[in-house]
Structure formats: structure tokens, C-alpha cells
Symmetry: C3
Subunit: 263 residues, 3 copies
């Protein structure tokens, strides 16, 4: 599988990516989408959540700083996205940290069709029904077989599942991709996980016919840019700056030479 | 018209600029105001919106992530600003994207005196009653004569109107300025439009006797800094960093040599 | 008093620092905690505020963009933190600017045990009952004796008190530290005050047995990193980027050579 054509699709179509996301990393979620050449929009009022989904090519939901009211808006947006037939990405940020997050994650999943569920190892394990705890929003070690968790959750929910980590797992009922790109510096920057969900939204919006491949391609491009950025950086802040710049300038030759996607 | 004296006024008076703005770019709105030498404050609780406007020299409203409750606080703050006689800037962010944004924009405009309405081409065209759509928060092409739209909206609402774009239009019932500074890189950075409204607020707060000239001068200074920043940048994130640094260091000689304001 | 062992404790224990903070600087509060090697989590829903405090090692409250509902969540989180016995830091951001901020600050202080009260000179003077005004969120000159204010407030509330400024004052009923590190550039960057509270939270969470010393050590380390960063910077944005990088790389030799803590 080649990632570059999916990046070309994002740049060529410039999909509008509607977000209902958290207040911590909302800027970076918007900027990463824009750096890839797509058009972010953030709108959460219940009165317009459906209308905004209606002009979008993808919807990204992230429960990082959820409230009951915010989740109600998410459901409205997700149903509108379903009606329009655009992909819905859900980042189950912090699932496994509190019962409220678990409950609200399942509420969203049960009230609309989510096309791509994304999280770190302990978040996804929790959503797959395993008895694990997440340390705030940072993953804890999960002893279970993550590939099996991804595939079975994908089957149970008829969707794609993304588990981010040193090696990302992207699975649906039939396919499974492993993405080996990225760098440990990403874990020292707040929001790299949230941004991954937004990137997946942009790639899914531009290539809605194969969401699993689009998600894997998006992660690979994002993480290749991270590998390029880290060589220019002296710490987490300069790294994040170079990450956005590298995404903006990302070239075909780099993606082709550096991508580490296996099936 | 010379822009530099307006910058000197901002630095000399350090006006407090009260914001009720969106959650995406709120940090950058505050930082741009501070980088120019003014003092930003963000406060939206209905219980204090009026009190905070009371200690401010300008009020900036931005509907980027509006809710019904948030707009109620905006109205309270705007009325308090009117009573105190300080300028009110409204960024009609995303007008034309959803009926809710249009409706709430008109509600604000009808409930208090807005001194400066600011938006991109499709946002302002929508507020001027034209049948256009905005693509999320990104402008769409507008076939109408933008100068005519700005001037007639300014007359209809007895205010100044700012349309940002490759060439910014700043108009009131009598005067019209064109600001030719800026750089295409600004459109690759989330929040450059929101920051423009905050800059206008700082300049209006420091020079309340001619808001239209102050707005034009503020845009010119901001965009001259952008031109200086882009020469040092390798992408959108390093550009934004250099933009703040260039604003902070902006010198008389650069403003005088580079300003492109025509009438 | 040596600051470095307190930094080692943060890096070694990686405490989870739960925040209910403002929407302006929330990202930077999280990133500063992460850059020091701790684990930030931001969660404000009343349904989970107590649960999240329950998995944390410290709680940081900041009223920068307070609302009535948000303060209710703060009280829930603070009581849960009290029950668990983890330190609670309160940044009385903007106290003295509006009656609402004063009233809500006292409500929080009276409804739960706050272990460390932090603010700039006019904010703390206001909380200590002095008749001063704050200029939005920027300090005004306070003619009172700040050391006396810090010590007497610490005694009255049985807590530690931090007054940030050119020279920081950190006091409890018995001890008083002066931290002379830092740089004037910090006042040109939005959020350096909020970040100071988050840093104090991380250090307090890692060294809960002497909160006053931990707060002083945290401020010293943060401000030493600022001194290192400013030598590499050309303005407020590059300074902030270098600040995070310098925190991430901060070495024993620099802390030991540069710390200016007196008693």
C-alpha cells in the first residue's frame, strides 16, 4: 500500500473536516488539518452541529474535555454525518480513566455509526471491554494482544479501529495494517494523539472509499513528517513547530522512501 | 495616512482589550495583543462580562465557536462597552456557513452598537445581505464588488467595515482604505483572521477618535510583520512564531518603508 | 535549599497533575507539566472531576476564564483531592479585576482546603483583603509589603502562598523563600503565570511533604529554564518555544549553578 496518493487526495480535494474536540489541543487539531492542505472547522453548538456536518467531508469527535452537553452535540453531528454519508472518527481520549468517559464513549458509539474508533492501547482495550485503566490521558501497559483487540472490536462495531503507539495498528474486519513510522519525541508533546485523529479525519474525508487504508496512510504521512522534524529539533516545542512545517512541505520522495506500512 | 503613529499609541497606552472569542485561537488572540504592547483579557461569564468591559479600552467579539449562552454574554459585554464609550469589534467568523451563525451575528448587531464589523469576503457579503455561502471558516469567492459591499454596509450600520483578503478593505460612510500588505502564508495558519480582529481591537482602543484609520493602520502593521516573518520561515508554524517576534520588534523604519495603504 | 532534587522527584515519579484551568493557556499548562516529565490531565465535567482527582497526585485550579458552573466543578475536584490527601493549587488569576472573581475565589477557598494559593502581587493582595485593583489579568503596583501579605495570608488560611513577580515570594506560616530567577521576557508571553501554577502543581505532587519548598524549587527550575531560553530567542514566541525545550533538557549543573533561592 502506498501512502502518497492518499496525501495527494487530501491536498487536491481540501476536505472540510468538522471537529467537536477538546479545549486543550483544539488549535493543534485545526492546524494539523490545515498544514496537510485540508480545511478545519470547529463548531459545537447543538443548533448548528448538524448544519456544519452537512458542509463537511468528515467529522472528528474527541472526548478529551467532554461534558454531558458537549456529547449531546456530538451525537447530533454524528447523526447528520451518517445521513450525509461522510466518515465519522471518534478519539476515545481518556477512556479507561473515569467511568464517565467509558459511559459517554459507549453512548456515542451506540447512538450513531462511528466509522473509525481511535485511541491508545489502554483506551481501545477499555472500549473493547477489557478491564484496564488509563492514566489520565496517557496509555498504560496492556498485556492483551492488541492486534486481536483491534480486529475483534472492528468486527463487533463494523468499523475501522486505530490503536496508536510505537507501532500503530489499523484494522477493520478484513484488513490489518501496521504503521512503523514515528518517533518517541511525539510522546513528549501534548496533543500528538489528538492530532492523529484529525489527520485520520482529513485522509478519510478525501478517500472515503477505503477508510482503513486512508487511516493508515494518514498516520504514516504524519509520522514521517515527525521523523523529519525531530532531526531539526532541540526539544518538544521546536519539534512541534518543525512537525507542522514538515507536514506542510512533505514531498512524494520522502513519503515513498520512508513509509513503513506492513500488512 | 501613516500607520506608525497608531502603533506608537498602542505601545504607549497599552490598552486593555477585552475578548469574548473562540476556543480555537483564543491564545493567539491574546498573544498578538500582548506582542503589540497591549494587555489582553478574556472573560465571558455573564456575571462579569460587563465589569470587565468596564476596565477595558476596547471589546473584541468573535463568534468562531459560538453558543447561545456565549452570545448572551457578548450582548452584555457589548452594551457595557457602549455605555462606557469604548469601541466594539465583531468578527463574524463563519457567517454564511450555517443559518445559526447568520442569525446570531444579526442578533449581536441589532442588540448593541458594533463599531467595527470584520470578516473575510464571503462572511461580510453574507452580513451585507448577499446570498453567499462560507466554506466553514474559509472564504469562498464572492463575485460582488467588495468595496461597494463594505461601504454600503458601513453606511447601513453606521460603523466601520473590514474585509480581509489579499487586499484588505477598510471602509466607513466617508473613507475607504485599501491595505496591500500581507503574505499568502497567512492563509496556511489557523487564526490569522481572528488575530486580525484582535489587532484591530488594540489599535481602536488606543486611537478611538478615528476607528477606520486605526483599523487600517493595525492591519498594515500586522501584515508588515507577516512579510518580515515569512522571509525567516520554513512553513506555517515557524512563520507564526516569527510573526509574533516580528510584531514585538516592529520598528518605525520598517513600517514607514513597507506600508501599502491607499485610499 | 537545593532545587534540583525536587526536579528529580518530578521526573522520577511523573505525577499525574489534574487541571481545571482556563481556556486561554490550557495547552501551555499541559505542555509545561509534560516538559518537566509529569503527566497532565484536564477534565472539568462535574460527573468526573472527583474521579480524575482520585487518580491524580496534585490538583491545579485556575479561574482565568471562570463561570459559575466551572467553579462548581472545581469545588467537587478540590474536595476529592482533599479526601485523597493530594495538594491543591489555586491560581487566583484576575482576582481584583471584577467582584465576581473575588467572590468566586473566596467561595473556592472557603469550600475546600487549598494548599497553595498563587497569584501576582495585586491578585494576592486582593485575596489577602487589601483594597487593590488588578488590570485585567496583569498586576498593578501594590504599595503594601508583599512579604508580610504572603506570610499573614499563609497563616490565616493555613497554607502556602506564592506571589510571582521580579522576585517571587513563597511563604507558609513558618518559612519564606525568595526566588530571584526569571527574566522580563516572561511578562511578554501570555500564560507564563498560569504555567507557573502548573509547575508548582507538578512539583507539589512529586514532593508533597514540603509544599512550600517544592513550590520554590519548581519556580526556580522553571525560571532558570527561562533564563536559558531567553539567550536563544528573538521575541516572545521563540522564547516560549525555547522555554519548553529548555525545561525538557534542564540539567543538574545548570540548576545548581543558577538557582537564586534565598530564605
Amino acid at each position: 500500500m502506498k501512502a502518497y496518493p492518499y496525501l495527494e487526495a487530501v491536498r487536491g480535494k481540501s476536505p472540510v473536516v468538522h471537529h467537536l474536540t477538546n479545549w486543550v489541543t483544539i488549535y493543534d487539531c485545526a492546524q494539523v488539518v490545515k498544514s496537510f492542505g485540508a480545511s478545519p472547522v470547529m463548531a459545537h453548538a447543538p443548533e448548528e452541529a448538524a448544519d456544519m456536518a452537512g458542509i463537511a467531508s468528515a467529522l472528528v469527535l474527541n472526548i478529551g474535555t467532554l461534558t454531558t452537553e458537549f456529547v449531546e452535540s456530538m451525537k447530533i453531528a454524528a447523526k447528520a454525518a451518517n445521513n450525509k454519508g461522510i466518515p465519522v472518527v471518534l478519539d476515545v481520549c481518556g477512556a479507561g480513566a473515569t467511568p464517565f468517559r467509558d459511559r459517554k464513549s459507549f453512548e456515542i458509539l451506540d447512538s450513531a455509526k462511528v466509522d473509525i474508533i481511535k485511541g491508545n492501547s489502554s483506551e481501545i482495550a477499555r472500549i473493547a471491554g477489557r478491564d484496564v485503566r488509563t492514566r489520565g490521558v496517557d496509555a498504560t501497559e496492556v498485556s492483551h494482544d492488541l492486534r486481536e483487540i483491534a480486529s475483534s472490536l472492528a468486527k463487533a462495531r463494523t468499523c475501522s479501529v486505530v490503536i496508536t503507539g510505537k507501532e500503530d495498528i489499523v484494522a477493520d474486519a478484513k484488513a490489518l495494517y501496521l504503521v512503523g513510522n514515528g518517533h518517541g519525541m511525539m510522546s513528549h508533546v501534548v496533543g500528538t494523539g489528538c492530532m492523529a485523529a484529525s489527520v485520520i479525519g482529513a485522509f478519510a474525508g478525501a478517500s472515503p472509499d477505503d477508510l482503513t487504508a486512508a487511516a493508515a496512510a494518514g498516520l504514516a504521512c504524519y509520522e514521517i513528517a515527525a521523523e523529519l522534524a525531530v532531526t531539526l529539533s532541540s526539544g518538544p516545542a521546536s519539534f512541534k513547530s518543525h512537525l507542522f512545517d514538515s507536514i506542510y512541505r512533505l514531498e512524494k520522495k520522502d513519503v515513498e522512501a520512508m513509509q513503513k506500512i506492513t500488512t
